[in-house]
């Protein structure tokens, strides 16, 4: 293991980490602006021009608030909860291919931290781990509302994981690989997977909403029933971490959806652009396109939040078990049959 390799990966990890934090930070601002736009208001506009310093002001406010640890809570787990939520939100970015390899001087640098051949399953594992932050925090607060919320989060997460896994299997039948890098490379130009897997894409999108606890599936923080949900007892930056983790999750799942179904860094006419811009600038344009797709999905997440009301709990379970799972299984069967027919003839 040469020192340059370690340095290169270290710099890449730092950049990706910084970018995800900044995007999550400005997602909070974007969320309020989008909400304001959809409700015909102005939104935050006091801190800086157009209110663009608002996330900084919010962050400072979070840090300055008093730290409160409930007397009968489990102190250690109460602290672990938000940390775990942040950790599981951040580690998903490791396997996402952010672009084709760029050439700087003699050196070719792949814009992906690691290309493991089970990358898709790794993402799936990280998603399934994400619920622990909520569960541990909710239980350790020693508050019945928090506990109810933690239990809701767990059952919701497990229910929608199954449909998500089944929708990924249909995608696997098409791509034949679990490596995210190869899946994205197969979607060269405009051959995006969403064309071959429209139902799989919709299923995956719905499950992504449920897994990130975003509206209309934000039952773990349903304030009309559960006060604040799992973070009722939290204050200061611990609360900030929970809120922040949600936005990082949103960013990561947008990136996963964009790379699985919408071609990642691929765009129509990319060969022509690559020929005319060279191997340093060309891949960066691809990365830019990838980020535009991610932002579009983040906007979609917000758009849905401010348009569709929250599901009732039984509706949530009904949708997950009786609609999405049968649909996903049917999708697998149809995909399999079509692939078999195409290979035969």
């Amino acid at each position: 293991m040469e020192i340059a390799f370690v340095l290169e990966k270290f710099i890449l990890v730092t950049i990706i980490f910084a970018i995800s934090l900044v995007i999550a930070m400005y997602s909070t601002y974007a969320e309020r602006k989008v909400a304001a736009f959809l409700q015909d208001r102005l939104g935050p506009d006091r801190a800086g021009p157009f209110g663009i310093l608002q996330p900084l002001a919010d962050g400072v406010k979070m840090f300055m608030k008093e730290e409160i640890v409930p007397t009968n809570s489990n102190k250690w787990l109460f602290m672990v909860g938000p940390g775990l939520a942040m950790l599981t939100a951040c580690i998903g970015t490791a396997v996402i291919p952010w672009g084709t390899a760029i050439q700087i001087g003699e050196r070719v640098i792949p814009l992906q931290v690691t290309d493991i051949n089970v990358g898709l399953l790794y993402i799936f594992g990280v998603v399934s781990l994400g619920v622990y932050g909520v569960m541990i925090g909710g239980w350790a607060s020693n508050n019945k509302y928090s506990l109810l919320s933690a239990i809701r989060a767990a059952s919701q997460n497990i229910s929608y994981e199954i449909a998500m896994g089944l929708s990924i299997i249909a995608l696997l039948l098409v791509s034949g690989t679990l490596s995210l890098k190869e899946i994205v490379e197969q979607q060269h130009g405009w051959h995006w997977n969403v064309i071959y897997q429209p139902i799989g894409f919709i299923l995956f999108l719905i499950c992504a909403f449920a897994e990130t606890n975003r509206a209309p599936f934000d039952l773990p923080e349903c304030e009309t029933e559960l006060i604040g949900g799992y973070h009722t007892e939290y204050s200061s930056m611990k609360l900030g971490f929970y809120l922040f983790a949600e936005y990082i999750n949103m960013f990561v799942s947008s990136a996963v959806i964009a790379s699985l179904y919408f071609g990642g860094y691929n765009y129509p006419g990319m060969d022509w652009v690559l020929q005319h811009t060279g191997t340093t600038i060309g891949p960066l344009i691809g990365t830019l396109v990838f980020f535009i797709k991610i932002f579009a999905f983040i906007f979609f997440f917000m758009w849905v939040r401010w348009t569709i009301p929250r599901f009732r709990y039984d509706q949530l379970m009904h949708l997950g078990w009786k609609v999405l799972i049968p649909l996903a299984i049917a999708n697998i069967i149809v995909t399999g049959v079509v692939i078999a027919i195409i290979e035969k003839f």
Partner: protein, 165 residues
């Protein structure tokens, strides 16, 4: 380097497994069990069994343990409502535990030094090779075990239906 990593991780696995049985609070036990499973995942990665590692990660850490935690949180066990155990139960438990230890030690002594399969063919744990093995020579056992799982699932659904079927 691989051996030293193995010993560190193995020590951690043993430590966290012991913590599972020594901690008083059942929720802490489950959390230690999750960490133990994580160390198992690391063991699989050290053996280059990537697929097994990630499946262990998803199924055990991500699904089964969430359900365990779910049930324990609902029960909300603590010292006050723990039923008192009679001395007879404790004695029976000690005897059963000693029998288990004797059996385990005996069976471990009987086995020869294992000849690890994975090291002969380091690529076996990778997903392509594993898939070929499962759907080639081991097709029948694989399908049979899936039928077994399906049967268990149908049984579980039937058990939850209280009204007459």
């Amino acid at each position: 380097m691989g051996t030293s990593v193995f010993y560190i991780v193995a020590a951690l696995s043993v430590f966290f497994s012991l913590m599972v049985i020594f901690s008083k609070n059942p929720v802490h036990s489950v959390l230690y069990l999750i960490v133990t499973f994580f160390t198992f995942t690391v063991h699989y990665i050290l053996l280059n069994a990537q697929f097994l590692a990630v499946v262990n990660f998803i199924v055990y850490m991500g699904a089964i343990m969430v359900l365990f935690l779910f049930v324990l949180m609902l029960l909300n066990l603590n010292k006050d409502n723990e039923p008192l155990k009679s001395p007879l139960v404790k004695i029976v438990g000690i005897i059963a535990g000693c029998c288990l230890v004797v059996t385990l030690v005996g069976s471990l002594k009987a086995t020869a030094v294992s000849n690890p399969l994975l090291l002969k063919n380091p690529g076996l744990g990778l997903i392509q090779n594993l898939g070929r093995e499962l759907f080639g020579p081991f097709m029948l056992p694989f399908e049979l075990s899936s039928i077994l799982l399906l049967t268990a699932m149908v049984g579980a659904v039937l058990l939850t239906k209280k009204e007459k079927i």
